[in-house]
Symmetry: D2
Subunit: 353 residues, 4 copies
């Protein structure tokens, strides 16, 4: 495993938005990375970050970035890694330019997530998919590379599914999500639309969850990803919660299992190739809650600095085999922290030399 | 069909509680019924209703009941029908005393809901189950009778399931609910527990939903109810909504059906034995919403004075056959109005002579 | 007093916005007015109302307007009265064109509210200010006329201040408001900004409240309005409430008064010139609540179809003389219904001949 | 100044309640104090803390206390200091027994707060009032002592008033509070009562704020506290916020002052007798916010680990002299952390020998 011998310069693309601010907040304290550039859309270029950014996180804006001048989103930034919080349509045009110019692009956007030569990665789930980067280099001829992290809800599903799939095999998955408002960005939803309400629809979300989950649990055949072939039905709802997605899961297994056995594989789950020294990786990616009414987003979203998925209510399903509830922090594990963990993995695996 | 030729005296048991207040509010304006007595627990007996009751509905307390004196919950009330909003454990002891003494008891409590000789009724779904009252009379020897209305969430499920079951047959049902806070009564949940949160557990609720749904869709064989035999998996969640339960449904049908055909049977559904003149019965028990993001509890709970169930997002399911979302007003159709509609049915069917 | 002998054609300017929708909802049922035209900004012109409008009120969109075609905001509409829900900057340019072309413009915008020849009216408070319309005609040479209704918070203050000023004289007013989110229009505030929060600032609001209150309680000297000269300190806050502004008031009076006397003048208040037949005017503009914890926006905002201001907690002030709390429905009495009541007054007073 | 040379044993009375849990959470990490006993009401005695306590804070219950056995609230606990989170009526009977038995009682209850020989203390505001303990000892003959911390809202008012009073003198204060739900304890308010609502009344709160503020800013004349004599009008409201009280203040000063001068004295304020080494005391008790829309409870309540009061919108008042908005964390600075800081002061001042 590789460690950086000095801090690596990183840039944030789309630094003023909701996920961009999370990137900035997390990277200011990061042991391996140093923010050397902030980039955003045309209208903010040339402004001081403090001036351009309607900072809306609870903690105050870190001193280190207040006076930084916003640069254009062009591949001339002084950085090795760029974290992209760009909207999908902008990402589609811009991220390849950065990859071509030699940057390692760690993207939170959905633009390239399911391309055959672009890995979508959760290190604890499918670090081996990084081998797709070889195919990416061959096909695209890029100097740099592009790695993506999955949709926030997918993250809260794929992490508990992984150890269950390894232990028992997955045949069918039914997921109903109750997603936090911050998942829609900032300003996102109007208070008048979501207070005292549930909105049982999020555009494109159900398809993303179904397809990305099969990709993440897919296996590599040489330089090709073979998506997992379980059947998946996802239903996405928006609820009046600020942060933390809750997902009701019902699963059918290849091999029947006792509830206690399912609890055990979740509780014992660690990354397949255990990398103890990635700064953002929790020792246990999953916390199993035994209380009858947990996990709950307000109480469990911050587990492990927002990097642990909490799973509870593991019980039989009258229709499939086993039911459970999962809670994931959507803007940390499900967005900014997830992409940073991917960058740490790239460093550790030697992709940045 | 029978109509009352003058107003029928009715009493409310548990008149000061959350559902009790709804009963009072609805009955003050009722064309067939007249509130002749209010009863509540010992500590409120002898007080004026206005004084005993922490009225929490938005509309003001009706003039007609302010000065009524609270009576004990004993079968000496001047009334033909009693509406029971008693807690289950009190109901279990008290409701039989009223039935024995000759009252028609319309109960919203779960105490006797699944007894073999106690009908649990939604008039549009299973009015024919009233025949159980004959068995009830034979077995219990009561002068009066006891009819119950189902759990609020069950109501929002059984109404859309009924026409689908009639048209195509039901094999499997998966339901995930997002239930309003008022379903837990008043004061019910602490603001600190449910704001910015989801609680993925409601004690006993999943079992009630599964069993009552099969009872409601069961068929009568003489004086015996044969419960429907579809497989049912229910998962119950509490969300930060004041009124209106939302339920994500996924169904497997006996006979495959086009989505359009499912929409049609829902849209066209009327009570099997159509009774145009029950005052609380809507012409169409179901509204089908075509918008991609409806139904929503805040926008749809009041449809048809809170008596219509709104159904939308009717679409294929990758795992079973068809998915949809249902919204029901939990304290109206799902509680007080539902029990009043049952009383109207009893009158119309001649059970009160 | 004049009554219309047939329905008067009216148009709504800005018909697709938050206040515009309220206008449409209220006017569809109005005994004197008939909606003959809907106008909105360029991008919606030519569309059916149903298609152009993201209807967000709880009640469904009235049938009568669904198929109406949106017209441009230009003074060629088939109507005698136009209700303006235009933003201030658009109103500034457009409303004079309508007034010049002969329309009676009833505006909810702040654009002309404090011009010396434009009456800002609450019929129960200052109907006599309509005399300014003579000056308006002389100075502007308009065929039609322009009348405005005050800011929503001002409305909830001026109505209770009026009878107190008449009875005892006002020297000083301290007001702290807790304003509903709908006051900021739709979509208005982001859920992420206002949930679990108070925002102690609303741009321009405190100045509007202070100035408009003095205008409304001013007296006419011929064709000139002399603003009232009490001292006024207003502090405006936004809170997580959907509808209904709450205002804490503390007053110093010219002539000392018992609390009971203040309660009496509030309770007995009727419009100075009593007009029993304006359809939107409540018999009593103020409800005095005696409970120790009322008024509350959720419980009291709908009093009198949202046209009555609820006042409670009337008690001595250790610093000035008397304190109280007022609740007003901000999008009904404080916006659309208020402007419609003004139009009714114009009709009754013969300004529309 | 005295420092403890080893950790001091402390007990928490009322350890299972809302403030009790905060005490436990904060004391588990405290550099000077060690939790040696937890006491609670009869029905919890003998249970493990984990079992007795419906822990509702976001962070998990500290390991160190899970297995501790709840003891009765009787003065036989192994501790030097007891922190009391008892309800007022229990505190009134029990706290004197502990003080008599030699314990230093740091109470968050209102029971003795305004007794002439019981100091109510905010160390930065009136540490000199500790001299009342001499009078307390003389009058009551206690081995130990009793010190109280003020009401949570009072805390958010007295801290900014102190430097202004010192610099310019206070003549009049008008305060309107918007208080968080957690101030009412747990479970406290029903979701159904406070969601989408404001409750403009909190029993006894306005009187407490007015009287305690004058006590805190009073001066000592020998062993007698002379309360400050400014006029004070407080109006208390409950809003839908979980934690953090917001207070709109309007002040009249003895000596007129520029706004900039008021800002400066707030910004520069430190404890009169500066004690750099009390672990819970922030370097600056006040943060002055320059943004036009701050402070806000969700963004500012956690400033300085919840120990700093945020003040903003400092501007002239048309009626008195200066207006401002204050935000204080009600369960940290306003309750548990405040009482712990008082205990640190007692240690530092040598009252525990």
């Amino acid at each position: 495993m590789n460690y950086p011998n000095k801090k690596i310069n990183v840039a944030v693309l789309g630094a003023t938005g909701a996920v961009g601010q999370r990137f900035v907040q997390l990277l200011c304290d990061h042991p391996w990375f140093h923010i050397s550039a902030l980039a955003a859309s045309e209208r903010n270029v040339g402004k001081r970050y403090e001036e351009a950014c309607g900072w809306h996180l609870s903690d105050v804006m870190p001193e280190a970035v207040r006076e930084m001048i916003i640069q254009p989103v062009e591949p001339v930034l002084d950085a090795q890694i760029v974290f992209s919080a760009l909207p999908a349509q902008v990402a589609r045009e811009t991220e390849p330019l950065f990859a071509q110019a030699g940057y390692a692009v760690c993207s939170n956007s959905s633009a390239f997530r399911l391309d055959a030569d672009v890995p979508v990665i959760i290190p604890e789930v499918n670090a081996d998919h990084l081998v797709l980067l070889k195919r990416q280099k061959e096909q695209r001829g890029w100097e740099g590379l592009l790695v993506t992290s999955p949709n926030c809800t997918t993250t809260g599903i794929a992490i508990p599914l992984k150890p269950i799939d390894m232990a028992f095999g997955l045949k069918k998955v039914m997921a109903v999500s109750m997603q936090a408002v911050s998942g829609a960005g900032y300003p996102g939803l109007s208070y008048l639309d979501i207070q005292d309400n549930v909105i049982p629809f999020i555009k494109g979300e159900e398809e993303k969850i179904e397809r990305e989950s099969r990709a993440l649990l897919g296996r590599m055949a040489g330089k090709q990803r073979l998506d997992a072939d379980f059947t998946f039905s996802a239903q996405a709802n928006r609820v009046a919660v600020s942060e933390g997605h809750t997902i009701c899961l019902s699963l059918e297994l290849e091999e029947k299992a006792e509830i206690a056995a399912v609890q055990d594989v979740l509780r014992d789950f660690r990354a397949p190739i255990y990398r103890p020294n990635l700064p953002s990786m929790p020792l246990f990616p999953i916390i199993v809650r035994d209380e009858e009414d947990r996990p709950q987003p307000r109480k469990d979203r911050n587990a492990g600095q927002g990097m642990q998925v909490s799973v509870g209510r593991i019980r039989p399903c009258p229709l499939l085999d086993v039911r459970m509830v999962s809670v994931v922090h959507n803007t940390l594990r499900g967005a900014a922290s997830g992409a940073i963990l991917n960058a740490e993995l790239l460093v550790a695996e030697g992709y940045l030399s």
